[in-house]
Structures are given as structure tokens and as C-alpha cells.
Subunit: 143 residues, 2 copies
DNA sequence: AATAATTTTTAGTTATATCTAACTTTTTAC
DNA sequence: GTAAAAAGTTAGATATAACTAAAAATTATT
């Protein structure tokens, strides 16, 4: 229960999420790889990791990979789930994958629970959008 | 043509948009009202206005209301149009008005042109979402 | 095993964006 | 028309989040 209710900054959420993704992809989250993935320099990563340590979300032996605590794992998974939901949502709207990924990455930090919940509803398979047929009927209607 | 291509920060976009809204609503945008509307203190507004002046987006006689330059008018209208589009979009998804307004206010600064364009498409009246009938048929089907 | 290369960390700088406190100008009220 | 109140400004502090430069530790090469 510790400091789980300390609202993370957007930046720290990004770092936490990236640690999670790198650990899933390569088993280990190195400072160098986090920096490359987020397009920042290594000292920026070092400072962020220090913050996340203070918040009890990650641990790190000096000069080695970053690990997630239980609370960190949960927080990272939350962010990642929002990312996945939003990316899928944008793709459903017709946005290209690269842009959907980029925009989801911004949206994941700012949307309220209510909006996220409505987007979840929208993504349920029973919600079907009718488009083309109403715009440009391709076949002449019978009479 | 001046410095129109200086990408504004999210914060400066908010101030510019608020100047525009207050001028439309009350004819004048006072420091005090901008501060109240954005929930910041007056010195924060003063600094922001100084920045916007440097960028050639607003003018201000000392100790009086803030005016928009032509470039400022255009930039503010852009932000406001995004706001209106996004708020309507969220409401269409079922989000309450207050939350739609709040979330639109964050989204308006971060979404790519492509995503905004797809959201515009979605909002065209010919796009109709079919929901309830597929979830819970209220009438027994014939046969 | 010594040296070179890489990785990580530390220290210090810069920019943005907020704040409080204090000062100035303008407006309002008597 | 002066005194009080309100509005605006200036100055200085704090926090976040990035950077460069340089030091320290680890890993790789020969």
C-alpha cells in the first residue's frame, strides 16, 4: 500500500512502461536501451530511474539492469494496457500504425478513467460502424 | 510569415486559447480572468503573455487587456477548433460533458494531424454507429 | 592480465512552468 | 482628490526534465 497513490508524471510513466516492455522483449532493461527507445540520453534515464527507485517502483543493482517491484509491475502494466487500448482504438478510426503508436503514447498519460472506459465500450466487437454504404452507394438501388 | 512556425508549448497554447475565448465571451481578456479560468496565479499569466508577445501572437498595453495579433488569432482559432472537435468526439463516445471538456483540453495539444483528420471523418454525419440492436435484440427474429 | 571500448553514473547547466512575496499602477469609494 | 481596494507586474524560489562533459565501473580484446 506504501506510496502507490503518488501520481506519476508523464515522463516517469514513459520510463516505467519502457522498462516493462524491454524486460518482456529482452528479459533485461538496460539504461542504454531505455535511452535509445525513448530518444533521450543516458543521464536522463539515470535520473528517472533514481526517482522511480524513491517511489518504490523499481530496483537496480549499480551498473546493471532495472527491475520492477510488484507495485512497479502493476503500474507499468496499467500504462501499457492503456497504450494498447488507445493504439487499437486509433487504428480502428483509420490511423496508420506508426502514428497510432505515437499518439497513443501521449494519450495514455492524460485521459480520464471515464474516457478510457467509453473507449473500451467502443472497442467491444458488437459496436460496428457503418460508413461507405451511406456515403457512396456503389450499386443503384432497385427502384 | 515571421515566426509562425515556432511550435508553441502546451502551456502557451492554453493561454492563447483562453485569451481568444475570453475575448469572444467578454470582449476583453484580463490577466485576472485568464488566471482564474486556467487555475493559475496572475504572475504565471504575466510570464506567459510575455512569451506570447515575443512570439508576436499577442499585444498588450501595460496594465490592460490582452489582444491577439493576426497570427495569434489564427493560432488560437486552430487550438479552439481542435478543442471543439475533440470535445464533440468524446461526447459522441458517451463521455460526460465536463470530462469531455477536460480531456479535450489535454488532447488538443498532442494529437497528430492524421489522427485529427480521422476523427473529423468519424464525426461526419454519415458515420453511424450501430450498437444496442446487436447486443440485445428486443424483438424475436422471424423464423 | 593489461588495455581499450562500452556502459553507467555524477555533476553541473539550461529551459519551462509554476509559485510566493513584494512593489506599482489603476480603479473605486468616500 | 485622497485613501483604500483591486489588478497587474517584477523579482526570486522551486520542481521537472532534458542536456553536455567528465569520472567511474564493467566488459571485451588481445
Amino acid at each position: 500500500m506504501e506510496n502507490e497513490h503518488t501520481k506519476l508524471t508523464q515522463s516517469l510513466e514513459d520510463y516505467l512502461e519502457m522498462v516493462h516492455m524491454l524486460r518482456m522483449a529482452h528479459g533485461i532493461a538496460r539504461v542504454k536501451d531505455i535511452a535509445a527507445a525513448l530518444s533521450v540520453k543516458m543521464p536522463s534515464v539515470a535520473k528517472a530511474i533514481l526517482e522511480l527507485k524513491k517511489l518504490g517502483l523499481v530496483t537496480q543493482e549499480p551498473y546493471s539492469g532495472v527491475e520492477l517491484t510488484e507495485a512497479g509491475e502493476k503500474a507499468a502494466a496499467d500504462v501499457l494496457n492503456r497504450h494498447i487500448l488507445l493504439k487499437g482504438f486509433l487504428i480502428r478510426l483509420g490511423v496508420s500504425e506508426a502514428i497510432a503508436d505515437k499518439d497513443a503514447c501521449c494519450m495514455e498519460h492524460i485521459l480520464s478513467a471515464e474516457t478510457l472506459s467509453k473507449i473500451e465500450d467502443f472497442m467491444k466487437p458488437s459496436n460496428i460502424t457503418v460508413t461507405a454504404s451511406l456515403k457512396k452507394p456503389k450499386v443503384a438501388r432497385s427502384k
